[in-house]
Amino acid sequence: MTAALGVAWVLGAGQYDYLGDGGRLAPGTLPALAGGVMAVCGLGVMLGAFRPQAADAADPTELAPPEGEPPGDGDRTSTGPLVALLGVLTVCLVLAPMIGFDFAFAAATFVILKLIERSSLLAAVSAAVAIWAACFLLFELVLQVPLP
C-alpha cells in the first residue's frame, strides 16, 4: 500500500511537470521525489517481509520505543468496538452542524460509554453531562470558540 501510494503520487505529480527549466524545481518535483522515496521504501518493506527475522536485540536503541510516544505494547483494540466507535464519531460529526457540537458530542459520549464500553447508566450520563459542561464552559465561555 505504501508503494502504491508512492507510485500514485509520482504519477499524479506528472501533471505539474517533474522538472523546471534548466534543472530548476517545478511544482511536481517535490511530490514526485517524496512519492518516489515512499514507493522505494514500500517496496523494500515488502521484500523485507519475505526475509527470515533474527530475534536477537541487545542494543539499547532497539529496546527503546519512539520518544514522545507511549511505550509500545501492541494495540489493544479489537475490530468490533473500533468500528463502532468510528461509526458513532462519524454520526456525531455529521449531526454536529445541525444539533450543535456540544449536544452531539455529549450524546456520542453517552452512546460510547453505554453501548461500546458497557458502563453503568450513571457513569454514562455523568460523563455526557461533564462533556457538555466542559464544552460550554471551556470552549464557548472561556475560549469563546463559535461552536456550531
Binding site: 501510494l5 505539474y16 511536481g28 518493506v45 510516544e69 507511549p70 460529526l93
Partner: protein
C-alpha cells in the same frame, strides 16, 4: 546578550507565566502518568487551548507539559509498572522493584531530585551552547538548510523507526507528500487538491498532529483497563540518607550524557535514558548484577538523562529549526502556529521568547520538585480512573480542539481521518513522528531546494561542493549507516558467541 537574557528571565517569572508554567507541569505530570498518553500526545492535545495566549506564555505552558509528562511517566512506572511515557520505560527495571520492596517513595524522590539536577545542568549548558550554535547556523545558506532538513528527517526516521529504518523514511516521505497538497508557493498552482477548495490552503499542522498522534493513540488504547497502583503515603516520600547519597553521582553523569545525546537530532529523551541506564550498569562493578532488583542508581541516572535530553533537544529546534525529538517536532508546529520561525535568526529576532522559554525550564523544574516530592501519592489516584471513562474526554478535546483552530468542521474531519491513518500506521509498524516532521520540514525543504538550484543554475552538485552542506550530508548518512552497522556487528558477535 546579557541584557536579552535578563529580559527573558524577567519575562519567565511574571506571575502570569509562572501560573502557565505551573499549569503546564501539573497537566503534564497527569498526562505523563496516564498510560497511553505520551508527551507528544499531551502537547498536541492542549495546543489548541493555548491559541488565545501570547506566544511566550503558550510555549512555556506547552514546554511545561513536555517535561512534566517525563516525570509523570515515572510515577506510573514506579507505582504501576506501566510507563506513561516512553522516556520513563527504563525506570521500570529498578523503580518498580524498589516499590515492591516498600521504597516507592525513595524511587520517586530520587527521580524527582535527579530530574532537577539533570534539568539544571542541561539548562546551564544549553544557555552556553545556544549562542554558539546560532552563530554557526547564521553561516548557513539554502544548500546547508536542505542538508539540515535531510539530517533531521533521516535521524528522526532512523531512531523512531524501531526495527525498520525503511518504514521511518517512508513515514517521513508521507509527511512531505501531504505537505505538497495545496497551492505551490513558487508558482501559485494548486497541487494535489483533487478539486477541493478546502485543500487549496493545504492540510493544517495542528489538525494533522492531533489526529495522527492523539486520536490514533486513543483508537490504539481502547480496551485498556485501569490498574491498581501501589500506594505510597506522604511519609514514604522521605528519601533515606543512603538513597540520597547514591542519587547525586548518577544524576550528574545522566545529566551530562543526556545533554550531549539530546543535542543530536533524533536521539531524544528516550534513548538518552536507555544509554544512561547502560552506563550506570557498566560502571557499577560488583553491583552490576543487582541492577533490575531495585538499585537507586538505575532510577536516578535515566531520570536525569531524560530530563537533560529533553532540554537539550531544544537546541537544534531553536537554532536550526530541526526538531531534536518527537515532542519538539510537535512543539515546532506550535512555534509556526504562533508565527515564529525557529532557526538561526530566532535568537536575534526573538531573544525574549528564546531566553524566557529557557529560563521557564528551570522554573518548571523547581515547580516539579516542589510538586512531586509531597504530591506524588495524590497524583497516583489519577491512575485509578478507568480508561473507558477517560478516552471520550480525550477524543472530545481532540475534535473540539481542532475545530477551535479554524472554526470549520473540515478541520474536525481532517483530524478524524488522520487519526485512522495514524492508527493504521502504528498497527503496521510505521512510526508517526516522522510524518509530522515531514509535514513541517517539507515546505522548508522545497523553498530551499528551489533557491539552491537557482543559485547553482540547476546543478545539484552544489550540495556536495560547500563544506558545511557536505559535512551535514555526511553526518546525515552516518546517522543511518552507523546504527545499521552496529546492529549488524552485534548480531555477528552474538552468533559467534552462540557458536563458541
Amino acid at each position: 546578550m546579557l541584557n536579552d537574557m535578563l529580559q527573558g528571565a524577567a519575562a519567565s517569572v511574571t506571575p502570569e507565566n509562572i501560573l502557565y508554567c505551573f499549569l503546564g507541569v501539573t497537566i503534564g505530570t497527569v498526562i505523563g502518568m496516564l498510560p497511553g498518553l505520551g508527551s507528544a500526545t499531551g502537547v498536541a492535545l492542549l495546543l489548541p487551548l493555548t491559541l488565545t495566549l501570547d506566544p511566550l506564555s503558550a510555549l512555556i505552558m506547552l514546554a511545561g507539559i513536555y517535561y512534566g509528562s517525563q516525570y509523570g511517566g515515572t510515577i506510573s512506572t514506579v507505582l504501576l509498572a506501566t510507563p506513561g511515557d516512553s522516556s520513563s520505560a527504563v525506570v521500570l527495571f529498578d523503580g518498580y522493584p524498589m516499590a515492591k520492596k516498600g521504597r516507592a517513595g525513595g524511587a520517586l524522590a530520587s527521580a524527582a531530585i535527579a530530574s532537577f539536577v539533570g534539568g539544571t545542568l542541561s539548562l546551564v549548558a544549553l544557555m552556553a551552547t545556544l549562542p554558539v550554535l546560532s552563530s554557526v547556523a547564521l553561516e548557513f545558506g539554502p544548500p546547508e538548510t536542505v542538508a539540515l532538513v535531510i539530517l533531521g528527517l533521516l535521524s528522526i526516521a532512523g531512531f523512531t523507526g524501531g526495527a525498520s529504518l525503511l518504514k521511518g523514511i517512508a513515514a517521513a516521505a508521507f509527511g512531505i507528500l501531504i505537505a505538497t497538497i495545496g497551492l505551490d508557493a513558487q508558482s501559485g498552482e494548486a497541487r494535489m487538491t483533487f478539486g477541493r477548495v478546502e485543500l487549496f490552503g493545504g492540510l493544517g499542522y495542528i489538525e494533522v498532529i492531533i489526529g495522527i498522534i492523539a486520536v490514533a493513540e486513543v483508537l490504539r488504547q481502547m480496551g485498556r483497563t485501569a490498574g491498581t497502583p501501589m500506594t505510597a503515603g506522604w511519609r514514604d516520600m522521605i528519601i533515606t540518607r543512603e538513597e540520597l547519597r547514591r542519587t547525586w553521582a548518577p544524576s550528574v553523569r545522566g545529566g551530562v550524557l543526556g545533554f550531549l545525546l539530546g543535542l543530536i537530532p533524533g536521539i531524544g529523551a528516550t534513548l538518552a535514558s536507555f544509554f544512561s541506564y547502560d552506563v550506570e550498569k557498566r560502571i557499577a562493578g560488583d553491583k552490576r548484577d543487582l541492577f533490575g532488583t531495585g538499585m537507586v542508581e538505575g532510577v536516578a541516572g535515566p531520570e536525569s538523562a531524560n530530563n537533560a535530553a529533553a532540554n537539550a533537544s531544544f537546541a537544534p529546534t531553536l537554532t536550526l529549526g530541526i526538531p531534536g525529538s518527537g515532542t519538539t517536532a510537535v512543539l515546532l508546529g506550535a512555534f509556526l502556529v504562533f508565527g515564529l520561525q525557529p532557526g538561526p535568526l530566532m535568537l536575534e529576532q526573538q531573544p525574549t521568547i528564546v531566553w524566557g522559554l529557557l529560563f521557564s525550564f528551570w522554573v518548571g523544574n523547581v515547580l516539579l520538585l516542589v510538586l512531586n516530592l509531597p504530591l506524588a501519592p495524590a497524583f497516583a489516584y489519577v491512575l485509578r480512573v478507568p480508561y473507558s471513562i477517560l478516552y471520550p474526554f480525550i477524543l472530545f478535546l481532540c475534535l473540539v480542539g481542532s475545530y477551535a483552530v479554524t472554526n470549520r468542521m473540515w478541520s474536525v474531519w481532517v483530524t478524524l481521518v488522520f487519526g485512522v491513518i495514524g492508527f493504521g500506521m502504528e498497527k503496521y509498524g510505521y512510526p508517526v513522528i516522522p510524518v509530522i516532521l515531514g509535514l513541517i520540514l517539507g515546505p522548508i525543504l522545497e523553498v530551499n531546494l528551489s533557491r539552491s538550484l537557482s543559485i547553482s543554475h540547476g546543478d545539484p552538485t552544489i550540495f556536495f561542493t560547500r563544506p558545511w552542506s557536505l559535512g551535514v550530508i555526511i553526518f546525515a548518512a552516518l546517522t543511518v549507516v552507523v546504527p545499521l552497522a552496529l546492529r549488524r556487528l552485534r548480531k555477528t558477535s552474538h552468533r559467534e558467541q552462540v557458536i563458541v
